[in-house]
């Protein structure tokens, strides 16, 4: 049908959202270029879910500008919602209905024309790999199948933009990888994706660009590797020892101006690219996005 839209899939500028005395989102800027996968990476309570809700106008921003596929929100949110798919963090499938019935409902809610409904449902069953479970009640599905259905449901109208709110939270590693493959397939088809997550590996593997949020604000933006190089350098040095030894090393490194992070059993010294001979002795390993995340948000990974 060829509706054309100018600019990025999503654009947020200076977005603020308050709940009483709490400021959940505090001047967030965010861009999702068309056709790219952007990760919204942040600890719990950083404002990720609130941001996701604002993109569907289920929360209304107090300040700032939100544009989704060219439509300003909340004024034209309905149009924007018609053109995007949403995978919620909390499963809200109709559990007493079958897999197929769930899809029929959403084909109607997303206004898939009557003539294409059948084909749309078959396509989603194929994507979600649920063809042979079409008549199973959602109640009878495993956690992984339910998630696949939840993602598939968001694709019923072939959206060019999909929001994924913590798509793999609480799932087994194996199921998670299965879902990553599914998300990667969307990405390769050129669907724009915004994915909130607090799994570093998920962002590292799937995202072209990552926006790290802390306390409702973007603290770093860029491709994962670039963020690592910029903030953590090429290599990190892990120092092991007694708690006293770690505290001592931490103070030492701080005095020399090297950022460090605690990893529980060790401290990692970062940004050592220009350290020359001043790099401490210890176990060398490549720096990663987790280092950047902890460094910038001050949060430990659980």
């Amino acid at each position: 049908m060829g509706v054309t839209i100018a600019g990025p899939a999503i654009r947020l500028r200076g977005v603020v959202k308050r709940y009483g005395p709490i400021t959940a989102v505090a001047g967030l800027d965010l861009d999702v270029p068309d056709g790219s996968c952007v990760g919204l990476l942040g600890p719990n309570g950083a404002g990720k879910s609130t941001t996701m809700r604002m993109l569907t106008a289920q929360a209304i921003a107090d300040e700032g500008e939100i544009v989704v596929r060219g439509y300003p929100l909340p004024q034209r949110s309905k149009r924007a919602r018609a053109e995007m798919g949403v995978v919620p963090q909390l499963d809200n499938l109709d559990t007493t209905l079958t897999v197929e019935q769930n899809l029929v409902v959403f084909a109607h809610l997303y206004r898939v024309p009557a003539g294409s409904r059948r084909a749309a449902i078959e396509r989603v069953l194929e994507i979600a790999n649920l063809r042979d479970r079409r008549d199973a009640k959602v109640d009878e599905l495993s956690g992984g199948m339910r998630r696949r259905l939840l993602i598939g449901r968001a694709l019923i109208h072939e959206p060019r933009l999909v929001l994924l709110d913590e798509p793999t939270v609480g799932l087994d590693p194996q199921v998670r990888q299965e879902l990553w493959a599914l998300i990667d397939r969307l990405r390769s088809e050129g669907v724009s994706l915004l994915m909130s997550t607090h799994y570093i590996e998920e962002a590292e593997r799937l995202c072209d660009s990552v926006t790290i949020v802390s306390h409702g604000r973007a603290v770093a933006v860029g491709p994962p590797q670039e963020l690592v190089a910029r903030h953590a350098g090429r290599e990190a040095v892990e120092i092991y020892g007694s708690p006293a030894r770690l505290a001592e090393a931490e103070a030492e490194m701080a005095a020399q101006g090297f950022p460090t992070r605690r990893t529980g059993t060790s401290i990692a010294v970062l940004a050592l690219d220009d350290a020359d001979g001043r790099a401490p002795a210890g176990e060398r390993r490549p720096a990663n996005l987790e280092d950047v995340f902890v460094l910038l948000t001050g949060e430990e990974i659980s």
Binding site: G2, V3, R79, A82, E158
Partner: protein
């Protein structure tokens, strides 16, 4: 806006307010769900009025042969049509709304789609009104088994039920939109619904009640529904029924808007 090419398969027409497709989507969801639980709902909606009829019809019927000139079984049989409408709309609306909002998070999913709160509430209320229109006829049909004579006016009962059911459904949605916890529903049921259910001229005429109770009955939309149904069934429709009908319509519109406002507050942060 047509500067950069970014194609989409979305419909070219911009969605409007109270869009038929959106309301239809909400209805489709309810209809498909209904296919999985219609047996139990239909059972209780038919058995309950039958029990009322048997208990009151034979119980009181043995004490008084006629009320206001009707055989008592006919009086109760027509009166409980309104009861059935009330019960099959206000309670599913209260509990259904709360469950779908809070426990199943269905409304989160629906509002992420191109559906607004206004359309959501309208769709839910229309569905319950349709159900109430049908289930409301059960007591009348049961009464026919016990001797209520068929009349052309009976054909007006489903549309009357629909209008009243829409209002009660919206009232139930409004209540669910206001209350914080599902346990608070008990207060509403005991303090509001039960008195309204009894003070409606269903089982006894309100003329014999103290003045203040009569006033409550006159305010009670259920009373107007009872009047309309009786007048329709007994071919007694007159000018006063324009007032009854107008009252039900006004009740429906008021509750509809109220339900939308309350749910909007609840669903949109």
């Amino acid at each position: 806006m047509a500067t950069e090419a970014l194609t989409t398969t979305a419909p070219a027409r911009a969605p409007r307010r109270l869009d038929r497709a959106a309301i239809g989507g909400v209805l489709v969801r309810e209809i498909i769900n209904f296919s999985s639980y219609w047996r139990s709902t239909t059972f209780s909606s038919t058995v309950e009025p039958t029990i009322y009829l048997l208990a009151f019809g034979f119980g009181f019927g043995s004490l008084l042969s006629t009320v206001n000139g009707y055989r008592y079984v006919e009086y109760v049989g027509t009166g409980t049509v309104a009861t059935a409408v009330l019960f099959s709309s206000v309670f599913p609306a209260m509990f259904g709304t709360f469950v779908k909002y809070k426990f199943q998070r269905t409304y989160d999913a629906i509002l992420a789609a191109p559906v607004d709160t206004e359309e959501l509430v309208t769709g839910e209320a229309l569905w319950l009104a349709m159900r109430a229109a049908v289930y409301g006829c059960a007591p009348m049909l049961v009464a026919m088994v016990f001797g209520l004579k068929a009349s052309w006016g009976m054909l007006l009962v489903p549309p009357i039920n629909f209008i009243a059911g829409f209002g009660w459904a919206c009232a139930g949605i409004s209540i669910a939109g206001r209350l914080k916890g599902i346990e608070n529903f008990n207060y509403v049921t005991s303090a509001v619904i039960t008195p309204l259910f009894l003070l409606a001229g269903t089982f006894f005429p309100i003329a014999g009640l103290p003045r203040w109770m009569q006033v409550i009955a006159e305010i009670n939309p259920l009373f107007h529904c009872v009047q309309l149904v009786r007048h329709a069934v007994f071919d007694l429709l007159g000018p006063v029924d324009l007032w009854n009908l107008g009252y039900l319509l006004a009740f429906g519109v008021l509750m509809w808007r109220l339900g939308i406002v309350f749910m909007q507050r609840k669903l949109i942060d």
